[in-house]
C-alpha cells in the first residue's frame, strides 16, 4: 500500500531532474530547446526505447538478457544480407524476417533457461558471444556498407508520418503495446507476479515456463526489430555493431526504476530512463563536455539510482513478515 505513492514520486523526481537538465542546458545554449534538437534526441533514443521494453519484460521475471545487443546486430546483418541478395524484397517481408529471426533467437534463450533450469545471466552471456560470432560467420567478416543496404531498409526509419519520423512511431507503438501487455493483460501481470515471488506464482497456477518463454521471446523480437531499424538508421552492418549496447539498455531500465530483483517497474519509469540517457547524451556535446564523459556519467547515475531504489523499497516495508525479522537482521548486518 505504501509502495504505490513512492513509485509515483520516483517518476516525478526523474521527470523533474530531466526538466532541470533540459532547462539548465537550454539556458546556456538556447539551440538545445529547439524542436529540431528534441526530434534528434527522440530519434537517437527511439531504438533504445524499443530494446528497453523487451529487457524490462525479462528483468521483471528476475532474469536478464545480455544477448540483446548481439541479437540486434545479428538480425540487422541478416536483414542487410537479405536485402542485398534479393533486391525485390518487400517491406512487410523484411519486418517479418527481422521480428521472426529476433524472436527465434530470444526463444532459444528462453528454451535453454526454462528447459534446463539455468540462470539467465549465464545463458545469455553464452548466447551473446554465439550470436556475435554468427554475424561474422554469416557475413564472412565483411561489412555491408551504405550502397549495399536495401533502399527500403534505409527508408524505413527516415520516412515521416504526420511530421514525425517512422522511428519515433515504431518506438511509440512498442511502448503502447508494452503498456497494454504489462498493465492490462493477464500474461503481463503474471510476469510481475512471477518476479515478485516465483514459488508463490507456481503454486497460484501460473504457467511459469510459458510466461518466461514469453518474456525472452518478446525481448528477442524487439531486439530483432531494433536491428532492422538500427541498420536502416546508420545504413551500415558489421560484426561489432552495437557492441556493448546491452549495458546501456540495462542502465536505462535501472535508472527508470525497474528492479533487477524482479517484479518492480513501470513502463513510464523505463521510458523516463531512456529519455534521461538520451538527454544526457545530447546535452554533453552542446555544453562542450567531452563525449568521453558519457559512460562515466551513466555509471554514476546507475549507482545513485539503485541506491535510491533500495532505500525507498526498504522504507516501504514490502513484506509483512519481514517486519518481525527486520530489526535482528539489520542490526547484525550493520
Amino acid at each position: 500500500m505504501t509502495l504505490a505513492p513512492t513509485r509515483v514520486r520516483r517518476e516525478w523526481i526523474l521527470t523533474a531532474i530531466i526538466a532541470v537538465i533540459v532547462l539548465g542546458v537550454g539556458a546556456r545554449t538556447p539551440v538545445f530547446l529547439t524542436w529540431r534538437n528534441a526530434l534528434d534526441t527522440g530519434n537517437d533514443s527511439a531504438i533504445l526505447a524499443i530494446l528497453v521494453m523487451g529487457q524490462m519484460a525479462v528483468l521483471l521475471t528476475r532474469g536478464v538478457d545480455l544477448s540483446a545487443a548481439s541479437n540486434l546486430a545479428l538480425t540487422g546483418m541478416l536483414c542487410a544480407l537479405a536485402g542485398k541478395a534479393w533486391p525485390g524484397i518487400s517491406l512487410p517481408l523484411l519486418l517479418v524476417l527481422a521480428c521472426g529471426v529476433g524472436a527465434l533467437l530470444g526463444a532459444l534463450n528462453g528454451w535453454l533457461i526454462t528447459r534446463f533450469a539455468l540462470p539467465s545471466i549465464v545463458v545469455t552471456l553464452g548466447t551473446m558471444s554465439v550470436y556475435r560470432g554468427a554475424i561474422f560467420v554469416s557475413s564472412r567478416g565483411a561489412w555491408v556498407s551504405d550502397q549495399d543496404i536495401h533502399p527500403l531498409i534505409k527508408g524505413l526509419p527516415r520516412d515521416t508520418l504526420l511530421g514525425l519520423p517512422m522511428l519515433l512511431w515504431f518506438a511509440a507503438g512498442v511502448v503502447a503495446l508494452a503498456v497494454w501487455l504489462l498493465r492490462w493483460r493477464r500474461e503481463g501481470r503474471e510476469l510481475y507476479a512471477y518476479g515478485g515471488n516465483p514459488s508463490a506464482a507456481l503454486y497460484a497456477g501460473i504457467p511459469v515456463r510459458r510466461r518466461l518463454m514469453l518474456a525472452y521471446t518478446v525481448s528477442g523480437l524487439l531486439a530483432g526489430l531494433a536491428g532492422l531499424l538500427w541498420v536502416g538508421r546508420y545504413s551500415i552492418a558489421f560484426t561489432e555493431l552495437a557492441s556493448g549496447y546491452e549495458l546501456t539498455v540495462i542502465a536505462a531500465c535501472v535508472i527508470g526504476g525497474v528492479s533487477i530483483g524482479g517484479g518492480v517497474g513501470t513502463v513510464a519509469g523505463a521510458v523516463l530512463g531512456v529519455v534521461f540517457i538520451g538527454v544526457i547524451n545530447a546535452a554533453l556535446p552542446v555544453i562542450q563536455v567531452s563525449p568521453f564523459w558519457q559512460q562515466a556519467i551513466a555509471g554514476f547515475v546507475i549507482l545513485v539510482s539503485v541506491a535510491l531504489n533500495a532505500r525507498s523499497q526498504r522504507q516501504a516495508g514490502r513484506q509483512i513478515l519481514e517486519r518481525g525479522h527486520a530489526p535482528g537482521t539489520q542490526g547484525a548486518a550493520a
Partner: protein, 326 residues
C-alpha cells in the same frame, strides 16, 4: 580425492584431448616453446578468474573487474609520467585496484545492493573514467623491467636460458596455489562456501558476512591490479579499452570450471583447469588462423554446453518427472 571431482576429471580429459588432437594436427604445437607460449594467453585472465571464482562462490559477482584493470594500468601510466620509480608505479596500480574494489564492496555491503547491478554501474564508471582521462590517446614508454615481467621467462629472471616457463605463468600458478589453499584448507574458505550457500544462515551462525564480502571485492581489485601490471608490461601500452570484455571471459572460465553461478559450490582446481583448457584451445585455434570472434563464439557455445550437458544427462529425467507431477 575431493579436489578431482567428476567435473574436474572431465576438464582434464578435455585438456588432454585438445593437446592430443591439435598436437597431431598442427606442426610444432607440442614443441616446448609453443607450450610455454600458450600459457601467456590465459595467465592474466586466470588471475582475475581466481578472484571471480571466490566472489561467485560467495554468491557475488564483479563485472567491473576488467574496467578496474584499465584504471590500474592508467594509474601506473600517470605515475610514470609524473616521474615515479617502478615500485611507486606498482603502488599506484595497487592502490587504484584496492580503491575500486573497496567502492564495490562498500556499495554492496553498506547499501545492501545486488552486486550485479553495482558492478554494471561501476563497470561503466571505471571504464568511463579511463576514457575521460585518456580520450583516444595511449600511454607508452614503460620501463624495460616491466616488459620483462610481461614477456620474459623464468630463465631471464634467474639468468638460466634453459628455463622457458613464462613469468606470467609462474605468477598465476603461485596465486592459484595460494587462493586454492585459502579456499579449500582454511576456515575462511569454508565460511565463503557457507556465505554462498546461505548468507542469512551464515550471518546467524556468527560469520561476519559483510566483512568477507568486502574483503573479497578488495581482493578482486588487488588481482585486477596484478593482472593489469602484467598485461601492461606485456603489451607495453595503456589504452582506455585495455582488457575490454575480459569480465565476461573471467565469468566464462569460472562457470566452465564448475563453479555454480548461484554460489556455494565450485573449486579453484576446476577454475584453473578451465583457464588452461580455454587458453590452450584458443591458442590452437589461433595457430589455425581462426579469427578471434569465431573463437569467442566457440567459447560461448562451450559455456552453454558445459551447463546443459550435466543437467541433461543427470537431472533431465528427474526434472521432466517433477514437471509432470506438478
Amino acid at each position: 580425492m575431493k579436489a578431482l571431482d567428476t567435473w574436474e576429471r572431465v576438464l582434464i580429459a578435455l585438456i588432454a584431448l585438445v593437446y592430443l588432437a591439435f598436437g597431431l594436427g598442427i606442426d610444432g604445437f607440442l614443441s616446448p616453446f609453443a607450450l610455454a607460449d600458450s600459457t601467456t594467453n590465459m595467465s592474466e585472465k586466470a588471475l582475475i578468474a581466481l578472484a571471480m571464482a571466490l566472489l561467485v562462490i560467495a554468491g557475488e559477482i564483479d563485472l567491473s573487474i576488467a574496467a578496474t584493470m584499465a584504471l590500474c594500468s592508467l594509474a601506473m601510466g600517470f605515475a610514470m609520467k609524473a616521474g615515479a620509480s617502478l615500485p611507486l608505479m606498482l603502488l599506484a596500480a595497487l592502490v587504484t585496484g584496492v580503491a575500486c574494489g573497496a567502492l564495490n564492496g562498500w556499495l554492496v555491503t553498506r547499501w545492501r545492493l545486488p552486486s550485479i547491478v553495482v558492478t554494471i554501474g561501476t563497470l561503466s564508471l571505471y571504464r568511463g573514467l579511463a576514457q575521460v582521462a585518456l580520450g583516444d590517446q595511449a600511454i607508452t614508454g614503460y620501463p624495460e623491467r616491466l616488459s620483462t615481467w610481461g614477456n620474459g621467462t623464468l630463465g631471464d629472471l634467474l639468468g638460466q636460458p634453459g628455463l622457458i616457463v613464462p613469468i606470467e605463468f609462474v605468477v598465476m600458478a603461485v596465486m592459484a596455489l595460494g587462493v586454492g589453499l585459502f579456499l579449500h584448507r582454511t576456515v575462511h574458505g569454508r565460511r565463503i562456501y557457507a556465505i554462498g550457500a546461505n548468507a542469512t544462515a551464515s550471518q546467524f551462525s556468527g560469520i561476519a558476512v559483510n566483512r568477507y564480502r568486502w574483503g573479497l571485492f578488495i581482493f578482486a581489485g588487488v588481482m585486477a591490479a596484478l593482472a593489469a601490471v602484467l598485461l601492461t608490461g606485456r603489451i607495453g601500452s595503456t589504452r582506455p579499452n585495455l582488457a575490454m570484455g575480459w569480465e565476461l571471459e573471467a565469468v566464462t572460465i569460472v562457470i566452465l570450471g564448475g563453479v555454480a553461478i548461484e554460489g556455494g559450490r565450485g573449486s579453484i582446481v576446476g577454475t584453473v583447469l578451465a583457464a588452461v583448457l580455454l587458453g590452450s584451445f584458443t591458442f590452437a585455434l589461433g595457430m589455425l588462423n581462426v579469427s578471434g570472434i569465431v573463437m569467442s563464439m566457440i567459447i560461448g557455445a562451450l559455456l552453454i554446453i558445459a551447463m546443459v550437458l550435466p543437467r541433461w544427462l543427470k537431472f533431465g529425467g528427474l526434472l521432466r518427472w517433477r514437471a509432470r507431477g506438478a
